[in-house]
Amino acid sequence: MSATDQVFGALADPTRRALLSTIARHPSTATELAGGLPISRQAVVKHLGALTDAGLLERERAGREVRYRVTPAPLSDAVSWMAHVGAQWDDRLAALERSFGGRSLSA
């Protein structure tokens, strides 16, 4: 199975998407995550394993537990995408504004 298939497979499940979204905001342990979900800690660990195998999460020791965080590479990719694409829209809107003489409401 290719890396892309693995990522796609990992994200095909809504529970795993929800877990990834939660962890993207706050790195968490399986116990913390299970506390907020109607599934067992064991099931959470299994989902986290799939996300980790797909390269979306990485593990770090947190005392006797393991804390999961989103791997830095996709996040820095997101930041650079938003900076790049955001700058392009700023340019397009500035040109449009000049042609019509409008004013920008948000930067």
């Binding site: 990522v7 979204s21 694409v85 397009r92 809107l93 040109a95 449009l96 019509f100 948000s106």
Partner: protein, 124 residues
């Protein structure tokens, strides 16, 4: 998790006038070819290609675009009539993670953006 950019601009002309400018070459890109109907092809400069998702003339244009090999993103341009003949232009460009990973698979031959419901998986 979605990467998203939002912008707003107030323009002192009616929506139809803004619509005529944002759908022709010069605004989105120097080169723009848009088939203004759902599922229509979209071509831009620099090898950027895509497809049109929704068209409401003078009100809304939603399309997907991608440069060869890069993840596709969805652009939604909305025009709202304001008082005194002004138009509020709202821009949202989003790159949903689920879609990002679907389109990370190189598409045989086309090198463009994949059409159809698979693209929309997970887009709320």
């Amino acid at each position: 998790m979605t990467d998203q950019i939002e912008r707003e601009l107030l323009l002192p002309v009616p929506p139809q006038q803004v619509w005529e400018v944002i759908t022709v070459p010069g605004f989105l890109d120097e080169e723009v070819e848009l088939e203004l109907e759902p599922g229509g092809d979209a071509r831009f400069g620099g090898g950027k290609t895509g497809w049109v998702e929704e068209v409401v003339p003078g009100e809304r244009l939603a399309f997907w675009w991608s440069t060869d090999g890069e993840p596709a993103s969805r652009v939604e341009l909305t025009l709202e009539q304001e008082a005194d003949g002004y138009t509020r232009l709202r821009v949202v460009e989003a790159r949903p993670l689920e879609v990002l990973d679907v389109t990370g698979i190189p598409l045989a031959g086309s090198g463009g953006v994949q059409h159809g419901p698979a693209m929309l998986a997970g887009v709320a």
